[in-house]
């Protein structure tokens, strides 16, 4: 279940991108979970046409997944629509996704941009767009060249085939009757699992998702060539404008819808985040090895670890300053010190568990906020409670932190009042001199609360940006200053989004 401010933020993003009607439909779906068309119409008091069009926009932009589900006791089914919160939030970070491609496959950036702008497109539409975007005087790209750049994206898993449009999902299998889905969901775990189940059922297998567009044989391409747009000197001559003719011959390929694979981009950003996060903590001489480890990474078995071959690491270490003098033993030892362990599948490769860095970073963020908000003593106490697996008694906190009793009591009260920590009263046994003890622990829901505050802050930043845009439209005389403030806010939102990703996506 998405938190209150998460819903407002997602609806705000959709409002800015697609307008009020689409935003209203999106908000309704986020609030109430998956709903059929009639139910959305009834709840929003909009015409079926308006809701249908809004849903089409949301589906086109991968923000909603349709699925059919049994209706009543018979064999009849109804189509439900489920808002995909994560994909809506990813719209905040399209610029980051583009920067990933710019660094990795710069020649394919325009293709990805097309997919991000339009949600899902066929290859044919992408070619059309690429040709349309060509500026006057520059060379028009060949279809084959576009196909090659596109296949690079698919091969690297940056782009995938779209999921099934309307898979069959039976909510009863999830022990959740259809009727309850229509109400406001109450339990967090079940909703998450149900949403995930729908997304997973709709997803294609990896082999299908990342199946590239096959290259057209020389003969076939020549058969479809048109002399008007052939590029002189090109080995394989393809039509740039003969899309329709090619569509007939490769209809299966050109009907397939493609979209950006957000998971891959998030993984790339996660990897980058972890690599950067640990850098300031690295000891002298370990930084080149750490960087080389990430640079040498080629493939990964899951989203939580990075595996790099030792040969690749050594090759990259050798290219770095002072790297030539490093022996294999030294590099191996430093890698182990950096928590990179030999891979279980390949003894000549090293694996780093990213989840540990992510977990530590989350705590660092929360602790840092406590320090800023409540001071050094609160930071020490909070860290003690975080590091302890069990509730800690007041006197033990005083003893361990060596802080003044009054300060500890005051700080504990502040943290408890602001819902950072929980306290429990324990009746004392006889002979201890006290009738009761208080034990303290970090609140179970604290992380959820923190994430909700992150959404709230992002929502406020967006609102502030819109407010300044309004002021600009009103024609204020301080236009330069306002533009400057707007840029500050946009930059702050981009940076703040890193926190959102850390807590929600990584």
């Amino acid at each position: 279940m998405v938190s209150q401010h998460g819903i407002l933020l997602a609806a705000g993003i959709i409002f800015d991108h697609f307008g009020p009607l689409v935003s209203k439909v999106c908000r309704c779906l986020l609030r109430h979970g998956a709903l059929p068309l009639q139910e959305i119409v009834r709840r929003l008091d909009l015409s079926p046409g308006q809701v249908k069009n809004s849903l089409l926009v949301l589906i086109q932009h991968n923000c909603v997944q349709a699925f059919s589900s049994p209706r009543g006791g018979g064999d009849k089914t109804a189509t439900h629509y489920l808002a995909i919160f994560d994909n809506i939030l990813h719209r905040l970070r399209f610029s980051k996704f583009l920067s990933v491609i710019r660094a990795d496959i710069p020649e394919s950036e325009a293709l990805l941009e097309g997919l991000l702008h339009n949600g899902r497109l066929t290859f044919d539409q992408l070619v059309e767009r690429a040709i349309y975007k060509v500026t006057e005087g520059s060379i028009r790209p060949a279809r084959e060249e576009i196909r090659m750049n596109f296949n690079k994206l698919v091969y690297a898993h940056y782009v995938e085939r779209c999921p099934k449009p309307e898979p069959f999902v039976d909510p009863l299998q999830d022990e959740q009757p259809t009727s309850t889905r229509k109400r406001v969901p109450k339990t967090v775990g079940k909703d998450l699992s149900f949403d995930k189940k729908v997304v997973n059922t709709a997803a294609l297998s990896d082999a299908e998702k990342f199946s590239e567009i096959p290259y057209i044989t020389e003969d076939a391409s020549h058969a479809n060539d048109s002399p008007h747009s052939a590029i002189a000197g090109a080995k394989r001559k393809h039509e740039a404008l003969g899309v329709d003719e090619e569509l007939n011959s490769t209809i299966a390929e050109n009907e397939v819808l493609w979209r950006a694979n957000f998971e891959k981009f998030i993984f790339c950003l996660k990897k980058k985040f972890c690599a950067e996060r640990k850098k300031p903590k690295l000891r002298v001489g370990t930084r080149p090895i750490w960087e080389a480890f990430f640079e040498a990474n080629l493939t990964n078995k899951d989203d939580n670890s990075v595996t790099s071959p030792l040969n690749g690491i050594l090759a990259r270490v050798g290219q770095k300053e002072g790297g030539t003098s490093m022996t294999i033993d030294h590099v191996t030892r430093v890698l182990e010190e950096l928590n990179c362990s030999p891979s279980s599948e390949d003894p000549d490769a090293f694996t780093l568990d990213l989840s540990r860095i992510v977990e530590a970073s989350r705590y660092e963020e929360m602790e840092s906020l406590v320090k800023k908000k409540y001071g050094q003593e609160a930071f020490t106490i909070f860290r003690l409670l975080v590091t302890q697996d069990c509730p800690v008694e007041t006197d033990k906190i005083i003893d361990t932190t060596i802080l003044d009793k009054q300060i500890v009591h005051g700080t504990l009260y502040k943290l408890w009042k602001d819902d950072y920590i929980d306290s429990e009263r324990i009746a004392s046994g006889t002979g201890t001199g006290n009738s009761q003890f208080f034990v303290w622990r970090v609140k179970n829901t604290f992380q959820e609360q923190f994430i909700d505050n992150l959404y709230h802050a992002a929502l406020n930043l967006r609102q502030m940006i819109n407010y300044i845009i309004e002021l600009l439209l009103e024609g204020s005389k301080d236009e330069t200053k306002l533009r400057h403030r707007k840029n500050i806010l946009i930059l702050a939102l981009t940076r703040h989004d890193d926190s959102l990703m850390l807590f929600h996506d990584f």
């Binding site: 000891r283 010190e337 840092s368 906020l369 800023k372 033990k396 361990t400 406020n460």
Partner: protein, 266 residues
Amino acid sequence: MPPRKRPPQPTNASETPPEVKTRISPPSKLCAAAPPAPGPAPSVSILPANILGSFPPPEREIYKLVFSGGDKGMTQTDIRIKMGMTASTLTKHMRALVNTKGVLKVVTNVHKRGEKIYMDARVDPSPEITGGTWYRNGQLDSEAVASVRLRCLDQVEKLGVATADSILSGISRDYPSVGYSIEQIRDILRTMALDMVLEEVRSTGVGEFSDLRAGRVCYRRGGAPQGGMMEGIPCGVCPRIDECSPEGVISPSTCVYYKKWLQMDF
């Protein structure tokens, strides 16, 4: 959660450094065991019968009762209930035992500063009552704590990676007049690790740990502070965030913190 265990008695009071009181074991070790039953310190025995015989019977009984409280002592309320005396009578006897005869003493409980605790004058009060090694007269000796922290940090900076033992020997060498115990140093190092001034690591036995046996707990300087992504914007540390809503009285467009942050006073 079991109640705190009482730390053991100081073994040699004469070696105590000037700025600290008594030596105690680290809190983590103390909390692992069950609390000891109150009782007199092993080295202190009850007053001989001839001295006790010279006391009036009620005072003799009061003394015996307080002595049984050991280093935790006994409050006046407890004594009054157990002896079944009126408050005024008890006060008279207590005054005699404390002031005139000098066999009992009054100690202030660090946890309940208004509460007087009586105990045998020869018994050192439990650190649970005094507050432990870093307390003086019921108050935390912040200066002493700060001074040890600084000395520990100096040693870590000198040594790079150091164990509690090497830090202690370094301090003893540089400041021979102070006599910290290893438990005191460990307590301080633990708080410094909590504050992230130091980093607690286990030796691998190689590289920078080559001089240390693998598996030993060591300390090194903590890295640059991380985090703070949320603090860059006003909402991160806003005390009114719970009252803020897009259309509310407190909203980003009316927010004074945002206006100040963006210097929107034009």
